[in-house]
């Protein structure tokens, strides 16, 4: 139940003594290794997060999502107070929190590896924070049992964490966080240690939980499905920078750049090298011999940005690509039957393209080697600058 405001937050991990030298040596030895993550490396150290600005509204569910190593956990840990904030300001309910100890921030956190106290029973794990706060015994009991009820772990209260399965431990970890009704609830990849089925179950549980305990959530995941299903708003990060902030709908329909377009959505968006043509106030994309006019609202935005004709990267989602009589020619490589739809993996002039065809619309079936034409609508075409990778509509 709190607003959280992050202003220009930056995190630099200083080199541990001796490490700097090692790093420099390593650079010459195996250069490609370092390229995995393009974090900025300065004299002071590794810049894990920078220029992070975010206003989280009261009771909002914010998801930080991005590939591994992009600085999600670091950001969360700075909010928690487990990591010092190198630069910038953190406000919770309008109060500056940079130098406030974690225990005084009234925040709870669920860790990826659960971090349950191994020598305490489930009950004691959940009661620990209340005991430290000198809450009366009967009140502790009431709160712990209430949380256990919500999470359906009442029957395990007397067990030690060792005797629980992964999913049960996860529930205990969540229980430990909710007993004291924190202002802000932080979760760092809480589901990533669970198997796929359990993960889906727990995802639904978290949605339910959220309705029962009305508080502000900050949730970290590398899984875009989790982000899309859970978040009120999603913060997409890469290499320590925010790429886009928006509702799941917004980031799906209006990706700010090539990275977001490729990261959000499953299967991944199809990209083509194309030409953007401006003819007066109208914009067309030319690709593979077809010419499609963009939708009027897109044209208006491009016009506002004074975009000229140029080569672009065109992005169209598989669900928005349609098989048609005429269009870009391609051959079928694989046709995956998914039930309600078929995922066609096509080869269009050496480029891999995925087209999702709803089963009801299908005329006949697809075989490997078939020639298929596909096209798309001007409403769903995204044009990205070749130079900056930015969406030209932004």
């Amino acid at each position: 139940m709190a607003e959280v405001k992050l202003v220009n937050i930056k995190k630099v991990y200083p080199y541990v003594s001796g490490e700097e030298k090692k790093k420099n040596k390593k650079k010459s030895a195996d250069e490609p290794e370092k390229k995995k993550v393009n974090l900025q490396i300065t004299d002071e150290g590794v810049v894990a997060v920078q220029a992070f600005n975010l206003d989280i509204k009261d009771k909002e569910f914010i998801v930080l999502v991005g590939p591994s190593g992009c600085g999600k956990s670091t950001t969360l840990r700075m909010v928690a107070g487990l990591e010092e904030i190198s630069d910038g300001e953190l406000y919770i309910d309008g109060k500056l929190m940079n130098d406030v100890a974690p225990k005084d921030r009234d925040i709870a956190m669920v860790f990826q590896n659960y971090a349950l106290y191994p020598h305490m029973t489930v009950y004691d794990n959940m009661a620990f924070s209340l005991k430290l706060r000198h809450t009366p015994k009967d009140e502790i009991d009431k709160k712990v049992r209430e949380a256990a009820e919500i999470l359906d772990i009442t029957q395990y209260l007397e067990r030690k964490p060792k005797a629980l399965s992964g999913g049960q431990r996860q529930r205990v970890a969540i229980g430990r966080a909710i007993v004291r009704a924190p202002k802000v609830m932080l979760m760092d990849e809480p589901l990533s240690n669970l198997d796929a089925k359990l993960r889906n179950e727990m995802r639904a549980e978290i949605i339910k939980l959220r309705q029962r305990i009305n508080t502000t959530f900050m949730y970290v995941t590398h899984d875009q499905t989790e982000a899309m299903t859970l978040g009120d708003r999603i913060v997409i990060m890469k290499d320590g920078y925010i790429q886009q902030i928006g509702t799941p709908q917004e980031v799906f329909n209006h990706p700010a750049n090539l990275f977001v377009a490729g990261f959000i959505g499953m299967p991944v968006m199809n990209f083509f090298d194309a030409e953007l043509k401006r003819e007066g106030d109208k914009f067309f994309v030319e690709v593979g011999g077809i010419k499609v006019e963009l939708a009027p609202e897109k044209e208006a935005r491009l016009l506002k940005n004074n975009v000229q004709s140029q080569p672009v990267t065109l992005g169209v989602r598989p669900e928005h690509t349609d098989v048609a009589e005429q269009g870009i020619a391609s051959t079928v490589e694989v046709a995956e039957m998914m039930g309600s739809s078929v995922h066609l993996h096509l080869n269009a002039d050496g480029k891999d393209v995925i087209v999702i065809v709803p089963t009801i619309d299908m005329k006949g079936s697809y075989k490997q080697g078939d020639t298929v034409h596909f096209t798309f609508d001007g409403k769903v075409a995204h044009v990205f600058s070749k130079e900056t990778d930015k969406n030209l509509e932004f």
């Binding site: 003594s17 107070g81 925040i107 956190m109 860790f111 106290y117 430290l132």
Partner: protein, 308 residues
């Protein structure tokens, strides 16, 4: 029959491991089991001509003599009290030392302090006893010459005054042994998942609350194992500490005599092998019983922490 064949199977399957264990087992047998035969001395009146196995058997005479001796009470009391202090105070000192080392953020300073604390244990006890002597000696010692005299205080004749020695011996023991005894705790602490501390700090724990609610409980298995082992040796003593450091001074023997020094002195002065063997026998039997008792007590309280 069944058992035998499964043992053979095991031998066949794991022979490289048994092979690796062999030198240790052989050493153990030669060093720890063969000499047990010598325990027969405890029941003999040893003569050189009779040898270990041919001397006259006298039953429990040696034990009787040992316990009727006025020294028996003193040496038993000393051995027990010093060991109890070493065990209890040792727990506190080594865990706290390990904790402070563990909490040092900088690797450099941790290595530095660890080396400084560990260094005394590399010194031979003879050197330690002369270091102590340099501090304590009556006329030339540092304490008398450079602290007490300049302050206008009476010099202390340490080697003839009993009351100082319990403190001196305890101090020297911890000065020398803390480095090694805290290593195990330090290794244990480094193995504790750091996110437990983070979770505790989010739960509102201060440093000391985390120490008592996380660090200590995680160390309990180690504490129990080490304590059971120490209890088993409660009738043994560090011979060098009790014999060399007091410089074999007779005036303070009431507070420095332990079973081990008694046995040694017995051998040196009277060559009474029988009584020395009886003292050793007594040490081992009591030690064995204590280990069994402590372990079964631990098992009753928390079975997962018992040694066997």
């Amino acid at each position: 029959m069944q058992k035998k064949s499964s043992l053979m199977k095991k031998l066949k399957k794991y022979w490289p491991f048994y092979f690796l264990a062999l030198p240790g087992l052989i050493y153990f047998f030669i060093n720890n089991y063969i000499p047990m035969g010598g325990l027969i001395l405890a029941f003999e009146k040893y003569t050189v001509s009779g040898g270990i196995f041919g001397s006259k058997k006298i039953g429990f005479q040696n034990f009787k003599f040992l316990f009727s001796n006025a020294d028996a009470w003193i040496m038993t009391r000393n051995t027990l009290l010093y060991n109890i202090v070493f065990i209890l105070l040792g727990l506190v000192i080594s865990i706290l030392t390990a904790y402070f080392l563990h909490e040092l953020k900088s690797n450099m300073s941790r290595k530095f302090y660890q080396t400084v604390i560990l260094f005394p244990s590399l010194l031979s006890i003879i050197i330690v006893s002369y270091l102590a002597n340099a501090l304590l000696a009556g006329d030339t010692g540092f304490i008398n010459n450079h602290i007490l005299l300049p302050l206008g205080l009476e010099p202390i004749s340490f080697y003839s005054e009993k009351k100082w020695w319990p403190f001196i011996l305890v101090f020297v023991h911890f000065w020398q042994m803390t480095g090694t005894s805290c290593i195990l705790y330090l290794a244990n602490m480094s193995a504790i998942d750091p996110s437990l501390y983070e979770a505790a700090s989010m739960d509102g724990a201060t440093r000391w609350q985390s120490f008592f609610n996380i660090t200590i409980p995680c160390l309990v298995p180690t504490i129990i194992t080490l304590t059971i082992l120490a209890v088993g040796k409660i009738f043994n003593s560090d011979f060098g500490l009790f014999y060399q450091v007091p410089m074999n001074s007779g005036a303070i023997i009431d507070v420095t005599q332990t079973i081990d020094t008694y046995v040694y002195r017995g051998l040196m002065n009277t060559a009474n092998l029988g009584m020395s063997a009886a003292a050793c026998f007594y040490q081992s039997v009591v030690g064995f019983c204590l280990v069994m008792i402590t372990n079964s007590m631990v098992r009753r309280i928390s079975s997962e922490n018992a040694m066997f």
